[in-house]
Amino acid sequence: MNPVLAIVAPFLAAFTIPLFFVFRKKWVGTAVILFGVLSALTALFVAAGGEAVTVMGGWQPEVGIALVVDSLTTAFLILASLGFSASLSAAAETFGYGPWRFYVLFFLSWAATNGIILTGDLFNLFVFFEIFSVAAYLVVAYPPRSWQAIEAGFKYLIFGTVGALFLLIGIAYAFMATGQLNMAILARVLPRAPEATLSVVIGCLVVGLFIKSGTVPGHFWLPDAHSSAQTPVSALLSGVFVKVSLYALIRLAFLLFGSADDRVFFVLLLFGTVTLCLGHLMAFQQEDIKRLLAYSTVAQVGTIVIAIGCASSGGVTAAVYHAFNHMAAKMGLFLVSGVLAEDRASRDIAQMGGLFRHRPLFVLAFCLFAASIAGIPPLNGFMSKWFLLVAAAERGALIPAAAVVAGTVLSAAYYLRPITAFFGPAETEPPHHRPHPVTGAIVALLALLCLVLALAPYIGPLKEGLLAVGRDTVNGARYIERVLR
């Protein structure tokens, strides 16, 4: 299947839903579901199709825009389609189909996500990042009635625009130095650029991606946005959006920056460690459960950045594996805490006493996800952290490794606070008991996914796939050769 279809399918959805609204209002819901299924299936088929390179307009890769599918792309396409499908189902249950514009934005961000993952062209990456970010600011600000949402959306907008500017500067300097934009060609010619230019290119791209992914100096938008957005959106932000930026970081780090010796990876290790510590320490102090989860996401981003900074195939494997684990667990956590917060009409942890008797299954799922994120063995979070520790030890990065381990302790501690509250005595019984069949089903599926991921190192094909991602990604020459064949 042609990779471009994975981008076009959600685009078609976004362009068609307004027409349905204008002409056949009743069909909007059906259309949203059908397009969701279509988009997910297309992406999965593209992922299943194996390695492929296609150039828009039938030109050579140098002239046109290339789309590249390799094992890293495959992994993230699967991650994105799982995350988007889960979020779409939850959103359909939470919002209904009335706010059709929300779904337009949703599909646009989906298309842009697939575009970022697939593209092999630096400027095209920037364009897709912009669609993705603009849609993200807006879904964060939905519904526009709440002031938190507006403020969070605005802060995200300013930060995201600054990040996009830095990406643009990096791309501009790369272009000024070489006249090329295709990433495979750039990987060949960029090392010949003057050292000073190279440092600006790398610095600006790294910093831009720091903002987009929520690594420390650019993380300020993240807790605001994650905690103020609606539940399905928070789940999406944490599960997919952050990961996409990390995908770009992995791709660029090994393709373009790998040539600039170890300084880049040192920067990644440094900022990853700072991010990790800050995220855990801030999460430790939160009273608002969604803010706690948001800061925990910051910390997990730091973990993944450290994994990338290990600059080895083991590190990339750990990063991708951890991205999957975090997606499954954090989406689940956000969905469950959304349901529980709605029952108490408050996101304050202190208010959440005794919810175990009220919603036992959701609370148990919360415990599973929290244990997974915190890295309680033998769950999936522990497995990926172990991979990471081994990779870090191989690189000799002792301080980051120690930070990861210390972070595990802290996260176990702060996740136990809501859990003990849930199992504690209730002050009042919740007033209503709205059933959440769809959310419940998604949470169950995510829990199942967590368990399957925990077994991934023991399942032959999955393990092979994960290791192959690391091997192929680190080997930049292979990518270049495949694109320019």
């Binding site: 802060k155 050292e195 440092s199 900022f271 102090q285 522990f382 081994v390 302790v409």
Partner: protein
């Protein structure tokens, strides 16, 4: 791995868990709590028989987690203190394991590269309450439910010692010094406590000192002696904690200043207490006495250590004498006049099980040791025992249970405050001020550019 150490400890786990589970059966708040001891048993078995350090750490942490929930059912803050300290230890161990696994294969439970030895000792030190890392032990033991204290003191800390036993294959002076300090510290603190369970907790610390010092010799003999003392201490301390728990159950207090003459109300309880404390104090021909003799024999080359340990043994005796005197014998200043609550049959059953195990262990130990070893130091040991009791009787002012002593727990609150200052600084950094955020970001950009400079 199967060798005498793991076989013995596997059996000991079962012997400890069954009475503890029976004791807590009625007190359990929900059915889930009844499961906890069995979960603990399962995890402990896995940890003891673990093939490599990773599996060991994993199951060690899981067993700590079950005990955390136990403690949580009674005291929230103590539970979290326990959890943090145990997780910190587990983190050190995990890090050490990851570093040792650099070659690829997981490191087997045993000696580790010399560079990583301190990391492992610190990690296991949190579990085994090495001095400085023992801050969690007195509060946790005193505030946990009795059956959890029994498991904690009887078995959980021993798992850390088990790790040390595997780790130490050569004499380690530092570890021996740590053991001596522990023994002395515990023996000094225990007789001065007024909380019955806290007293027992410090006595545990002192006994752990004996064990650690013995392990630190790095010889086979030392390990065997340590193993014997582990068994002796586990059974005796398990029974002691259950009796202390029964006292609390009956009189609603653990304060030795307020406990009455329980021997009048519960003569049987006093009998059980005597069985356990005599063994713990090292009465000749009991398993405790034999174990202490073995430890001293293992430490034959270290005269100073031996001397300190003998003195520490007297401290243990004095502490137990204090508990007997103020908890069971003296009329005390007890205020309440109501009849003490009757104890449930399951509690009696569980204590009887412990006592039976203790007696059987004594017979078994006597048989294996032989009459010659058993009678070797009878005179000296008895003299020490009696001397300690006489000292206790002659110096009533020191041991009066109406005062508190400086304690490691006093440091916890200021330490907590110290820790929260940087945390709140960090929180103030997230002031919601967009310009400030952006300035920080641009500053960081400059740092990145500087780090990437040609």
């Amino acid at each position: 791995m199967t060798d005498p150490i793991s076989t013995t400890l596997t059996a000991l786990a079962a012997v400890m868990t069954v009475p503890a589970a029976l004791y807590g059966w009625n007190a359990a708040r929900s059915r889930l709590y009844r499961l906890l001891p069995w979960l603990f048993l399962l995890f402990a078995w896995q940890a003891i028989t673990a093939p490599n350090w990773l599996v060991f750490v994993v199951f060690l942490e899981l067993s700590s987690l079950t005990l955390f929930f136990f403690v949580l059912s009674k005291d929230r803050e103590t539970a979290f203190l326990y959890l943090y300290s145990q997780l910190a230890g587990g983190a050190c161990l995990l890090l050490g394991t990851a570093l040792a696994a650099r070659g690829g294969a997981l490191p087997a439970v045993g000696a580790v590269p010399p560079g990583l030895f301190p990391l492992f000792v610190i990690g296991l030190g949190f579990k085994a309450a090495l001095p400085g890392l023992h801050f969690w032990l007195p509060p946790t033991h005193s505030k946990a439910p009795a059956e959890a204290s029994a498991l904690l003191s009887g078995y959980a800390v021993k798992m850390g010692v088990f790790g040390l036993m595997r780790l130490v294959e050569a004499p380690s002076p530092a570890l021996m010094a740590a053991g001596v300090v522990m023994a002395a510290l515990g023996a000094l603190q225990a007789p001065l406590q007024r909380d019955a369970k806290r007293l027992l907790a410090y006595s545990t610390l002192s006994q752990l000192g004996f064990i650690v010092a013995s392990v630190a010799t790095g010889t086979e003999e030392g390990r065997k002696a340590a193993l014997l003392l582990i068994v002796a201490h586990a059974l005796a301390k398990g029974l002691l904690f259950l009796t202390a728990g029964s006292l609390e159950e009956a009189y609603d207090t653990r304060d030795l200043g307020r406990l009455g003459p329980a021997a009048r109300d519960y003569p049987l309880l006093f009998g059980l207490f005597l069985v356990a404390s005599l063994s713990l104090a090292g009465l000749p021909f009991t398993v405790g006495g034999l174990a202490k003799g073995a430890v001293k024999a293992a430490l034959a080359d270290h005269a100073l250590t031996q001397a300190v340990l003998s003195a520490a043994g007297m401290g243990t005796t004095m502490a137990l004498a204090k508990m007997a005197s103020f908890g069971f014998l003296s009329s005390g200043q007890r205020k309440g006049t109501g009849r003490p609550r009757p104890l449930p049959p399951l509690a009696w059953l569980s204590m009887a099980l412990f006592a039976a195990a203790l007696v059987m262990a004594s017979f078994a130990a006597l048989k294996t040791a032989g009459a010659e070893v058993a009678t070797k130091n009878v005179l000296v040991d008895s003299l020490l025992l009696i001397g300690a009791v006489i000292l206790f009787v002659r110096l009533p002012r020191i041991f009066r249970p109406d005062r508190t002593t400086p304690d490691v727990a006093d440091l916890l609150a200021p330490a907590g405050r110290m820790l929260t200052i940087p945390l709140s600084r960090l929180r103030r950094l997230h002031s919601g001020h967009l310009t400030f955020y952006l300035a920080l970001f641009f500053g960081a950009t400059l740092v990145v550019l500087y780090l990437l400079r040609p």
